[in-house]
């Protein structure tokens, strides 16, 4: 099969993995080598679906011995199959990189023969890139479920990032849809990677020189909307994964009823806005001090599709407001709808030198319409919680009129 046809099949097969980041790793170019990473990811292109193209994201092969119902590459699917050799992938990566099309490689694979055999093929590709081609760009390798400790340790020697996909939020869903995989096995991989990451960190402390092991850490992916799992289930699992394995990111991928999709799966596409809300909630958990249990306000255990999770929380906790921008703690400011992390930091700095007014906020390009009901600023008159409360209630009465509720439209159409 010619390279172009293989690329078509194996890129198409890889696009269901949502992760595309190329950030979090710094490496200078080797003498005589090609490529580096400088911490910040670069999106080299965007496809008409609005998604970024940063890495050459492909499968080594889409042949697979497993029959995971949600996956287009499962053994019981009629999809066309192809297989690259590690050398072919390494050459393609180099050629694309030289022309500045990509930041590096994200390589995953269907499982062939065994987990370790498959993992060895992925490692061989990365090894060849690093040792033969002196490639200094970004490499993200998939940790094949069930891969041995030795294989994972070696993978981290070449890769910037590793990821073992948890696939579904509830262990029971996996039993139903991917009988050959278990949460225990997948989390075992995460735990092995975590162990090596800690070990590398520890050696840094003792010797001052950090041994190379997946400096961009590990991530995972969860499929949303394939089963009846609620947002509470999903966020609870994410929280546990962040805590237990110190993951850099959990990616959420809205299940799309794929071609040749399997029995027992949801037929309906979940609204795209659900995936978006989960990312927002995830963000609030990691950077805004929210706990997963606070964020879900709907009785059905899901995030509000109409309001973003921060606003939904604010509307449920009116006693918390108004927050005084000149006196409140950072934690309290972070809970104000319409104030982001950067602007909170700016406010904290600014208020050391002068009283912050609404005009100041406007200049920071904060939507004053959005924050006004929730804050007290200088020159705004004495703090009047009742007035603020009144404004929030007004908002509740006429949600559709507020610009802030534009998200409601996206909830209906599924377009963001």
């Amino acid at each position: 099969m010619e390279t172009r046809k293989k690329l078509e099949i194996l890129a198409d097969a890889a696009k269901y993995d949502a992760s595309c980041a190329s950030s979090g790793s710094r490496r200078a170019r080797a003498e005589g080598g090609l490529g580096n990473t400088e911490g910040m990811g670069i999106c080299h292109s965007y496809t008409p679906d609005g998604r970024c193209v940063s890495l050459l994201k492909i499968l080594l092969t889409n042949y697979c011995i497993y029959d995971c119902a949600y996956c287009v590459n499962r053994i019981g699917s009629d999809t066309p199959r192809a297989r690259f050799t590690p050398q072919e992938v390494a050459t393609l990566t180099m050629e694309f990189y030289r022309r500045n099309y990509i930041e590096g490689l994200f390589l995953s694979s269907g499982v062939i023969q065994s987990a370790d055999y498959t993992m060895e093929q992925l490692i061989e590709t990365a090894r060849s890139l690093r040792e033969e081609h002196l490639f200094g760009g970004y490499i993200h390798l998939k940790a094949v479920p069930g891969a041995s400790e030795v294989a994972l340790a070696l993978a981290g020697k070449y890769a910037d990032r590793l990821s073992a996909n948890i696939e579904l939020p509830r262990a029971g869903d996996l039993v139903q849809l991917a009988p050959a995989k278990t949460h225990e096995e997948i989390e075992e991989s995460m735990s092995r990677i975590q162990f090596r990451l800690l070990e590398a960190k520890d050696k840094t402390k003792r010797n001052g020189k950090r041994p190379f092991f997946a400096p961009a850490g590990q991530t995972t992916q969860m499929i949303v909307g394939a089963t009846s799992a609620t947002d509470v289930d999903i966020l609870t699992k994410s929280t546990a994964l962040y805590e237990d394995y110190k993951l850099r990111r959990v990616y959420y991928s809205a299940f799309s009823p794929i071609q040749h999709s399997a029995p027992g799966m949801a037929n309906e596409k979940p609204p795209l806005v659900r995936e978006h809300r989960l990312y927002q909630a995830d963000w609030l958990m990691r950077f805004y001090g929210f706990h997963s249990s606070e964020l879900v306000t709907e009785v059905n255990g899901n995030l509000s599709l109409e309001h973003d999770p921060k606003l939904a929380w604010a509307l449920e906790h009116r006693e918390f407001f108004p927050v005084d921008v000149n006196a409140a703690s950072k934690e309290a400011l972070l809970r104000v709808p319409g104030l982001g992390v950067r602007n909170v930091e700016r406010i904290l700095r600014m208020r050391r030198f002068h009283k912050v007014t609404l005009e100041d906020l406007r200049r920071l390009r904060v939507s004053t319409d959005k924050v006004r009901p929730f804050v007290v600023a200088a020159g705004q008159g004495p703090a009047n919680p009742d007035a603020a409360r009144h404004k929030i209630e007004e908002k509740l009465r006429q949600p559709k009129q507020m610009e802030l509720f534009a998200a409601a439209a996206t909830a209906r159409t599924g377009e963001l």
Partner: protein, 458 residues
């Protein structure tokens, strides 16, 4: 009013500003004028002695950010930069912390615009190969960033010979030295690179036609950059075809018995529903559905591959030659067939017609997967302790993955549908073995494995 003439570069401005500051010239007294060409080099201030300049005491990072702002294409930066510099050195040392200040806002607005342009240049430069290890790109940045941005490309592509051409200025790297030259028009850049076809193939393959969001794309990849992006050529085509591709995806038939499986705890109800299953194409040619049979409470289920010619006619599993062999072997192992529930992974006969004969064909993965809901439903009702998989097809259905019988046979393996599942061969494998000695050896191994099944069941 003082006219400050300088050459329009960051360095020129910096030297001039130092001189002005040393002479305590207030910002509102200065009119900044860019000059180009020879005279600019000497054209500092006539009235100010720049030799007395003192070292600048400004907050860390200011000069670095100011050098970025100086790349802004508009004439605005110079006055703003000097106002900031003056205020920072005249009692407002913390000015940059006051992000809502008008000068600071202007400064940051321009800095952001230039930094974004720098970042987009990192992203959108497209090298074209012109010879062995030689690459040339032509890029049109919004601001004058060719010089400030060149070191990035040196760090990354230091082992290549490259040139990055822009309309303002061009950068050349020969693996040792970075040189700059005048800007050049796009017509001087190479017209194509053979690899671009492969890149476009990749780009087209990662696009999901079910999620068209042109605005999101254009926001990050402005149309003005498209002419130098090889992949942008096919955007109109991808968009034009998106609708059709989505329809094709939607129309792709999903083979599955799931819609035919009723929610029930009654096996007869399940059997009745299975009789009219059209979950895959096999029902079109087979005579009938052959469902499982046996006691509900035997604790053990045997799963075969699919009904054969005689089973298809009789409507019962394992009544043909393979069934008779199974009966014999079970007797030898001391297992009563009447105590077993026996079923198949695929419930319709798949065959090829050759003359009057119907020749067995192994079901494909799609057919195994399509039929699995029936097996799942049977197991949910039966709740067996043990599932015995006869052959690879049965094992694939029970374990949800490809199983190599010889690697995994003879073990009591964990399974989601029962306490354990056990893999052994299908009796028809014995019938197909040409070598009688080998067949005999296999047969006794088969019996021995079934004895272990009996022992396990207790």
């Amino acid at each position: 009013m003082i006219e400050a003439r300088f050459d329009g570069t960051w360095e020129g401005w910096r030297d001039t500003a130092r001189g002005l500051l040393a002479n305590e010239i207030r910002p509102q007294e200065v009119l900044w004028t860019q000059e180009t060409g020879q005279q600019a080099l000497s054209g500092i201030l006539a009235t100010v002695d720049t030799g007395t300049s003192v070292p600048l005491r400004v907050p860390r990072g200011f000069l670095e950010d100011a050098a970025v702002v100086a790349c802004h294409r508009s004439p605005e930066p110079w006055a703003v930069l000097y106002r900031l510099l003056y205020r920072l050195t005249h009692g407002e040392r913390h000015l940059l912390e006051v992000t809502s200040d008008k000068d600071v806002l202007e400064f940051r607005r321009m800095e952001k615009a230039v930094r974004r342009d720098i970042h987009k240049m990192h992203a959108f430069v497209r090298f074209r190969k012109t010879g062995e290890n030689r690459y040339v790109a032509w890029h049109r940045p919004d601001h004058r960033i060719a010089r400030i941005n060149a070191p990035f490309f040196v760090r990354r592509f230091g082992s290549m010979h490259w040139a990055i051409l822009t309309p303002d200025e061009s950068a050349y790297w020969d693996t040792q030295t970075l040189r700059f030259g005048p800007g050049v028009p796009r017509s001087e850049a190479p017209a194509q690179d053979d690899l671009e076809e492969l890149w476009r193939t990749y780009y087209a393959s990662v696009f999901n036609p079910a999620r068209v969001k042109v605005n999101a794309m254009v926001k990050e990849m402005a149309v003005r950059h498209w002419p130098t992006l090889p992949e942008a050529d096919i955007i109109p085509k991808l968009l034009a075809e998106a609708g059709t591709r989505v329809e094709v995806m939607g129309a792709a038939r999903r083979e599955s018995a799931a819609p035919f499986v009723p929610e029930t705890v009654e096996l007869p109800v399940l059997r009745e529903a299975a009789a009219v299953c059209e979950g895959c194409d096999l029902h079109r040619h087979a005579t009938r559905t052959v469902f499982g049979e046996g006691p509900l409470d035997g604790g053990v289920v045997f799963v075969g591959e699919q009904p054969g010619d005689l089973e298809d006619l009789a409507g019962r599993p394992f009544v043909g030659p393979a069934g008779q062999l199974l009966d014999e072997v079970l007797r030898e192992a001391g297992i009563d067939r009447e105590s077993l529930y026996i079923t198949n992974a695929v419930k319709h006969f798949k065959f090829e017609e050759r003359g009057k004969r119907r020749i067995h064909q192994t079901p494909r993965g799609v057919e195994i997967a399509a039929c699995r809901p029936w097996l799942e439903a049977e197991m949910k009702i039966l709740q067996p302790r043990l599932i015995v998989c006869l052959g690879a097809t049965a094992a694939q259905s029970v374990f949800g993955r490809a199983v190599r019988v010889n690697a995994e046979r003879g073990q009591f393996l964990p399974n989601h549908m029962a306490e354990a599942a056990f893999v052994t061969i299908h009796p028809s494998a014995l019938l197909r073995m040409p070598d009688p000695a080998m067949a005999a050896a296999e047969r006794s191994r088969f019996v021995e494995e079934l004895r272990r099944v009996r022992a396990w069941l207790g």
